[in-house]
């Protein structure tokens, strides 16, 4: 039993206070780490930050990380604009560009990218539409195509498919469903004809009888930079050091992620360790035996060192503007800060 009189408590308090003051005065190394908040979605593509945190790569950079979960990409971008979180990772959307135009957020790196050698996003058709002749993406003209919202990455993919297949964009009937589960329900029940989605969801869907895979997104969009890393403009201008340290930590997490789940160069034990970390946030409602394979199935390559494919971002921005889904005045400089990572 610890007995503390008021006097000893006081003296202890005084000692601690003096200790703190001296520590602060003496060295920056002993300083409390910078607290940052990272927004994540419960998707495998958000694993790198989770791995970086789990392996202590952020602690190495003197960052104290807190994860904030979101249901969709759009609120994450708004939360960065409002200062509730510091970093996020999502697809480029009309909302993100609009916030960049208002000087609130900036893209600082690249993440998920379509590459020909890795199984990427799939183009799906409902069984009914497939049976009626929709057997490949270039036959999509005149069909309904599910998107979450106008100006989402799904919308972009749909139009890119139309462009490459050589039919007019307006021949695709873009059908907004707001949420991914709603798109899934509509596709399964045949209320929409087609959709495109990341491989793990696509895989789960095509196992059932209602949905058929008809193509790959990578065949229609070259080196599509699907998601990017972004932060607030304030961090970019005033806290460059913090951003650099975050990207350094994240890069190590990305390397581990690619090695463990995409290239599969790690030992089984290491993979299990990493899957365990990711499982805390992704498919957390399922047991690890079930979640493990699903996490692995959803793994698409994430650019080493958060490299950014500028050409793809430019193409996306141009598309948003051509469809009047983003303000005309936005320039690449408004949207992207290329000074942090290698870009190509």
């Amino acid at each position: 039993m610890i007995k503390t009189t008021r006097r000893t408590a006081l003296s202890m308090f005084a000692a601690t206070a003096i200790g703190l003051v001296t520590a602060a005065g003496l060295s920056t190394a002993a300083q409390a780490a910078d607290a940052i908040k990272i927004g994540i979605l419960s998707l495998t593509s958000h694993s790198p930050s989770i791995i970086a945190e789990g392996k202590g790569y952020f602690t190495e950079q003197d960052l104290d990380v807190e994860f904030v979960s979101f249901q969709a990409a759009q609120p994450m971008a708004i939360a960065i604009a409002s200062g509730d979180i510091d970093f996020g990772m999502t697809a480029i959307s009309g909302g993100l560009i609009s916030l960049a135009e208002k000087g609130a957020v900036r893209i600082i790196g690249g993440a998920l990218q379509e590459t020909p050698e890795i199984s990427g996003q799939k183009i799906l058709a409902s069984k009914a539409a497939y049976d009626a002749g929709l057997t490949s993406p270039d036959k999509l003209a005149g069909h309904t195509f599910g998107v979450t919202t106008p100006g989402s990455s799904f919308h972009y993919m749909a139009h890119k498919i139309a462009d490459k297949s050589g039919f007019d964009r307006s021949e695709l009937k873009i059908t907004p469903m707001q949420k991914v589960p709603a798109v899934i329900a509509a596709l399964k029940s045949g209320q929409i004809d087609a959709w495109s989605i990341v491989p793990n969801i696509a895989g789960a869907l095509t196992k059932g009888p209602e949905v058929v895979e008809i193509g790959k997104v990578s065949d229609y969009i070259d080196n599509y930079q699907v998601t990017t890393v972004f932060t607030s403009t304030k961090n970019v201008t005033e806290n460059r050091d913090l951003v650099t340290r975050f990207l350094a930590g994240l890069s190590k997490g990305i390397a581990d992620y690619n090695a463990a789940l995409v290239d599969k160069t790690m030992s089984a034990d290491e993979v299990a360790e990493i899957t365990g970390m990711v499982h805390k946030y992704v498919y957390a409602d399922q047991p690890i035996e079930k979640a493990g394979p699903r996490i692995a199935a959803g793994a698409m390559r994430i650019n080493e060192g958060a490299k950014l494919n500028i050409a793809s971002v430019e193409d996306q921005l141009a598309w948003f503007q051509s469809e009047k889904l983003a303000p005309e005045g936005v320039t690449m400089a408004d949207l992207v800060d290329t000074s942090f990572v290698e870009s190509y």
Binding site: S93, L96, S98, P150, G151, P176, M177, A182
Partner: protein
């Protein structure tokens, strides 16, 4: 009677209050006035004036940067978005799509609602059987049922109209049977005593008697219909004010968002005005 006497009476009657105050200095004072106030006087110009002042303040705040561009777009930007809508003619596409859903959904919901409400009020068997269901289903947010509506009615116009219809149905039922319950029983007894048929009593006494309650129910259900429009147009709507607002939200185009909300507001005011007209027409007997 002397001349003096008549004079005296005249002067006494002619003396007014000010004379009294003069002649009895200090003893007579007016009863303190304690009435007044608590009366509604009509000020027609106040609301528009206040609105204009608020918009000007808002514009100035936005121009000077006091109101952040992210927090709220300037009214001039919202007006710009609105004029874009007019220029491209998109406003008519959005409006006609929304009005179609509103009119069909609200009319059907009101019609069925009035019938069910009357049935509940008039037949105790129906009341015993149906009214618990109404009470149980009324508080369910119809938005929560949207996924089911999509399976039942498809992602086309069906689910949109159904969302509005269900939202309108329940308050109409409740307003109707509440209105019938409040019809003066003596009037019904009067009808019976004059040998009026059951149908005549319903048609000539009960329905007109419940009409004020039904019409104020319409006022509420029309607002609910407009509120539900945004929810109804969440799924698979290419055009419509709700779809426009949702798209503006997704694109974080706050100027369009405000323009869309303003359209809903104007729609609400118009509907309110129409119902006031209907009330004045149908309830002219109330003065």
């Amino acid at each position: 009677m002397s001349l003096d006497a008549t004079n005296e009476i005249e002067t006494r009657t002619r003396r007014n209050t000010s004379d009294l105050q003069q002649s009895r200095k200090g003893l007579v004072k007016p009863v303190p006035f304690r009435g007044g106030g608590f009366v509604h006087t009509r000020h027609r110009l106040i609301a528009p004036l206040l609105f204009v002042v608020l918009v000007i303040l808002w514009e100035v705040g936005s121009q000077t940067g006091f109101i952040s561009n992210i927090a709220l777009p300037a009214p001039s930007e919202a007006a710009g978005a609105m004029s874009d809508l007019f220029e491209t003619g998109m406003i008519w596409k959005h409006l006609s799509a929304s009005l179609y859903r509103l009119v069909i959904g609200w009319s059907l919901g009101s019609l069925i609602g009035v019938f069910v409400g009357l049935a509940i009020a008039l037949f105790s068997l129906v009341r015993a059987g149906v009214s618990p269901f109404i009470s149980a289903l009324f508080p369910i947010p119809k938005i929560a049922l949207l996924p089911l509506f999509i399976i039942w009615f498809g992602i086309g116009e069906g689910s949109k109209v159904a969302t509005i219809l269900f939202g309108v149905f329940f308050p109409t039922v409740i307003a109707t049977y509440g209105g019938v319950d409040n019809v003066d029983r003596n009037l019904i007894r009067m009808g019976q005593s004059f040998g009026l048929s059951w149908m005549s009593i319903v048609r000539k006494i009960i329905i007109p008697g419940a009409l004020p309650a039904i019409l104020s129910g319409f006022r509420i259900s029309a607002s609910i219909a407009i509120i539900l429009l945004v929810a109804a147009e969440m799924i698979g709507a290419e055009y419509g004010i709700g779809a426009y607002i949702l798209m503006a939200g997704a694109l974080f185009a706050t100027d369009q968002l405000i323009a869309g909300v303003a359209m809903l507001s104007v729609l609400g005011l118009t509907v309110g005005w129409l119902i006031s007209r209907a009330e004045r027409l149908l309830l002219s007997w109330r003065a």
